[in-house]
């Protein structure tokens, strides 16, 4: 084989491979972590605080309600879809839920390396809105179901809108570590 042909063949293989590797590297490196804002793609919205890996969120659906749970214990909603039929399922199934994978469009500023970093802004909202009459309780002080009752009753006291309450609730629940 002529020398030039070998070189062309080498370049033909190596250059695309190098590009592919660098793209994959860049893509995967920047796309693992936690969403720091709600991200909508097609019919699906994935909520802030959701862990993503390789640009994809692994969620669980009952194939009926449109709610996308973080796990099969339904510990927290991590997303919602208007069209369940548009979801791609992995085949995994547990507790009546089906695993689905949602690919998210690239946006580096939507991903934080750690969960505390990802929910920092919502934390500000919590401490801003929930410490006007009394001190804001640390999230670990109460269990999740207790927080639901507290937040619901405090929504009235604090005049908190539904959308703000949703952000605050998510911050509190995601912050519970024990």
């Amino acid at each position: 084989m002529p020398k030039g042909a070998v070189l062309r063949k080498f370049l033909f293989i190596i250059i695309p491979a190098a590009i592919a590797v660098s793209v994959i590297y860049a893509f995967s490196d920047s796309r693992s972590g936690y969403l720091n804002k709600n991200v909508t793609t097609g019919d699906v919205t994935v909520f802030f605080g959701t862990e993503i890996s390789g640009g994809r969120a692994h969620l669980w659906s009952d194939k009926v309600s449109g709610v996308l749970y973080a796990d099969t214990d339904k510990s927290i909603d991590n997303g919602f879809t208007k069209d369940v039929s548009s979801l791609r399922f992995t085949g995994k199934k547990a507790n009546g839920l089906f695993e689905t994978v949602v690919s998210l469009p690239k946006a580096d500023d939507e991903v934080s390396e750690t969960l505390p970093e990802a929910i920092k802004e919502s934390g500000k909202k919590y401490y801003e809105m929930c410490s006007t009459c009394h001190a804001a309780a640390e999230p670990n002080r109460y269990a999740k179901h207790r927080w639901d009752g507290i937040l619901k009753s405090m929504q009235q006291h604090g005049g908190i809108s539904d959308s703000d309450l949703s952000v605050i609730r998510r911050y509190v629940i995601l912050s519970i570590t024990n």
């Binding site: 401490y127 801003e128 809105m129 929930c130 410490s131 006007t132 009459c133 009394h134 001190a135 804001a136 309780a137 640390e138 002080r141 179901h145 207790r146 639901d148 009752g149 507290i150 619901k152 009753s153 009235q156 006291h157 604090g158 005049g159």
Partner: protein, 791 residues
């Protein structure tokens, strides 16, 4: 005293108000003609008469059509001879000697603002550096000293100390500490502060209201916001509509008397036993609602074992209950029959739960209401707290405290115990809490020497504290026991925004500054800015806003279409109640469909038995409503030594200790001291006559009161209202008598239980004796000696 305003007068005042409102407050301060200025307080909204920059008098605001002696005493409040005129420092403290035993004894030195601020900043830094931020404790938790949205001392202080790195804070409160910790397990919310069935629905459906330890016409004369007296009007309207009242209380209270209630005089602290007897009757007679229990509750079987005596061999029969609570068995049964009607509403506030094992009161009442099956119906069921804070819709914004990095907390009523026992670990609501070693107490907008139980123990506790900083308007007992005292402006000396609430916001009030700060007094906000400047976080504290900019920011949070300037000019805005609010029925959704509208309890239902509470294994708070014999009650062994049960109820003509020092107090004080109300038969046995000077005492201390004889208290029960300023007979001597009659010298700081660790002030036994010897006049309202200085 004038009790009502004529329509003509109302119109005149309204016209004058609107005329004046076009003028800026600053102009009124300089004007020698009398001006009327709009303001609002915890006692109600008022029109302030100002002349030559001085507050002459106050009148109830014409918009609300209600009156009270307190609303007309606010000029006395502002012009009180007890006003703190300049920054002061306790003499020994200023000289670098702690000598904490001299607090409340020695003189103060008047110093410049610069010096007082420098010293306070230095002491804050010292505490932080030497002992950590958790060594700083704030006493201001509730916000009862200022009705505005912006200048609330507790929030300003929380914000300031949070930015400083944190502080030891309190959780829960003195008012409803037991119930607010328990009820989330049982009903999924604190309930006592939740929105309740609307007054409109009660008016349309209820035939009988049971006032269970509740005196609404007194309690609703003040408000954590600005009272508009709607609630008081409703209770009077119910009477006109023919609704019958029953008062279950050791005291035939003011509401009961005015509304002609039937009185069922229950022995103090025994309500739970009485309720259990009623539950037993319902069950054994087959008259309980099995369908409600099955569909809306969990744990009834566990409770039933206890009720029937399967566990302890004691059936909680009406006869058993009668022996404890003192109410005849047939009356317990007939009241239960009345409650079976679905037109009977059980209303209660917080007093009956401020006892040992106070958690059991609301829990047993909910169980009774569940067995009656009346929860969630329009005219019946339970009504806890009168919907004190039930709000929906847009309120004025309030300044946030932000995050407290120190995270150390103690239950609100544990201050004395904490000070005496640093390092002690206690149970609290499923957690363990370890008391910090407090070295600095920062007090704003509170007078703990009045509302805290067992004052002698508290006095011993504060002697261990290195520094006590206080912002105060007048020389309260707490201010007198402080080291650094900053003179604070009254509400009338600053601008703010207030609001009234009844299920929703009913009024927005322009709390206009009506006079310049008196003497050298400054706003809390200003003082904290000066300290923040010295400590390096001024901008974070203010975000660049002036006080008036915060007020405007607050108003904009309401999203009202009226521009701020116009609102400020007209003085107030009345808001229309939403139709939905008028039709609201507490728990209606849940009862109609418990599966779709579950409560936020672990089971989603009313938890008559709580697995969670049971799992804590507390011997003083089991998993279901239980009668625990208190240490101090009339049926116990201690009653042989101290035969009277003391009730320290909230006063009618003050807000805790606020206004105790005013001429208004002359209307009810006896020989210048707090009254002790005694049943005439008891008084006769002790040889006490109306107006006699009486010592009330127990093992914790003694107070001097003036006797008032009345059949409106039960036999063996005495009443000394909370709020009299503490005045030691021998200042500085531990255990000395209080010659002013402050009942919290006598009350116990024992907690309700390991669950809530709440205040149990109403579990208190005392003895009485008539005094014939000469007693020192009440010194509570004397200012400390103040030495002028050039510092």
């Amino acid at each position: 005293m004038k009790n009502s305003i004529s329509r003509r007068e109302l119109l005149r005042m309204a016209a004058a108000a609107s005329l004046f409102s076009a003028f800026p407050a600053g102009q009124a301060m300089a004007d020698d003609t009398e001006q009327l200025i709009n303001h609002a307080t915890h006692f109600g909204p008022v029109m302030a008469h100002v002349k030559n920059g001085k507050l002459i008098s106050t009148e109830p605001h014409p918009a609300i059509g209600a009156d009270s002696a307190m609303m007309r005493s606010l000029a006395d409040y502002v012009n009180s001879p007890n006003r703190i005129k300049a920054p002061c420092v306790r003499k020994s403290f200023l000289e670098g000697r702690k000598q904490t035993e001299l607090r409340g004894v020695e003189e103060f030195v008047e110093v410049s603002w610069e010096m007082a601020l420098d010293l306070a900043a230095e002491k804050l830094k010292e505490a932080k550096q030497n002992w950590g931020n958790e060594s700083i404790f704030r006493t201001s938790f509730a916000g009862w000293s200022h009705a505005g949205a912006i200048n609330r001392p507790n929030t300003l202080q929380g914000r300031f100390l949070g930015l400083f790195g944190g502080f030891t804070d309190t959780i829960s409160d003195y008012s409803a500490g037991a119930s607010s910790q328990l009820l989330p397990y049982v009903l999924g919310s604190m309930e006592v502060y939740s929105k309740q069935t609307s007054y409109e629905m009660i008016a349309a459906n209820t035939k009988t209201i049971v006032l269970w330890g509740m005196d609404p016409l007194k309690s609703f004369r003040i408000d954590s916001a600005v009272p508009d007296f709607t609630k008081n009007k409703w209770y009077r309207r119910f009477k006109k509509l023919g609704i019958k009242y029953i008062c279950v209380d050791p005291v035939y209270n003011d509401t009961a008397r005015e509304l002609g209630a039937e009185w069922i005089s229950v022995r103090p602290g025994t309500d739970t036993a009485m309720i259990l007897g009623m539950c037993y009757y319902l069950y054994t007679s087959g008259k309980y609602s099995k369908s409600f229990i099955d569909s809306c509750t969990v744990g009834f079987d566990m409770f039933l074992k206890y009720l029937l005596g399967k566990d302890d061999g004691v059936a909680k029969t009406p006869e058993w209950a009668s022996k404890i609570c003192g109410i005849p068995t047939n009356r317990i049964i007939s009241l239960t029959e009345t409650l079976r009607s679905d037109t009977t509403l059980i209303g209660t506030l917080y007093g009956p739960q401020r006892i040992e094992h106070g958690e059991q009161f609301h829990w047993s009442l909910i169980t009774l209401a569940s067995m009656l099956g009346n929860v969630g119906k329009p005219g019946s069921g339970i009504n806890f707290g009168g919907g004190l804070l039930g709000i929906s819709g847009k309120m004025p914004r309030r300044i946030s405290q932000g995050r407290n990095p120190a995270r150390t907390i103690i239950p609100a009523s544990r201050m004395g115990e904490m000070l005496m026992n640093p390092g002690r670990t206690i149970d609290f609501n499923g957690m363990k809490i370890t008391y910090p070693d407090v070295k600095l107490i920062y007090n704003m907008g509170a007078n703990s020497m009045t509302h805290h139980q067992d004052i002698n123990a508290l006095l011993a506790g504060i002697r261990k504290v290195e520094t006590m900083i206080t912002h105060e308007i007048v020389w309260t007992p707490w201010a007198k026991h402080s080291d650094i005292v900053f003179p604070e402006t009254t509400t009338f000396e600053k601008n703010d925004i207030g609001f009234s609430i009844v299920n929703n916001v009913t009024y927005l009030w322009a709390m206009k500054q009506v006079l310049k700060p008196m003497y050298e007094a400054k706003d809390d906000y200003w003082v904290l800015i000066q300290l923040a400047k010295r400590l390096g976080f001024e901008h974070k504290f203010t975000t660049g806003k002036t006080g008036m900019e915060w007020v405007k920011w607050s108003y904009e949070g309401t999203e009202n279409k009226v521009p701020f300037e116009h609102f400020w000019n007209i003085g107030y805005i009345k808001l229309t109640q939403k139709p939905n609010d008028k039709q609201f029925i507490r728990f209606e959704d849940f009862v109609q469909n418990p599966k779709s509208n579950p409560l936020f309890t672990p089971s989603g239902k009313i938890e008559i038995h709580s697995e969670k509470i049971s799992s804590y294994g507390y011997g003083d708070c089991a998993g279901h409503p239980t009668w625990y014999e208190p240490k101090e009650w009339l049926g116990g062994a201690m009653a042989k030594k101290h035969r009277f049960h003391l009730l320290s109820l909230h006063p009618k003509n003050r807000l805790h200790s606020q206004m105790d020092n005013l001429p208004l107090a002359d209307e009810y004080k006896v020989n210048g001291r707090e009254p002790v109300v005694i049943h005439p038969s008891d008084a006769k046995q002790l040889g006490i006559s109306d107006g006699d000077t009486v010592e009330v005492f127990n093992d914790r201390g003694a107070i001097i009161c003036g006797a008032v004889l009345s059949k409106r208290v039960m036999r063996n029960v005495v009443r000394v209202d909370e709020g009299a300023w503490y005045a030691p007979e021998k200042p500085g001597v531990p255990g000395t008598r209080c010659i002013s009659g402050n009942p919290n010298v006598l009350t116990s700081d024992k907690p309700t239980s390991r669950l809530a660790q709440a205040c149990s002030a109403h579990s208190c036994l005392v003895s009485l004796r008539k005094l014939t010897e000469k007693i020192k006049p009440n010194t509570a309202y004397e200012n400390p000696v103040i030495v002028k200085s050039k510092l």
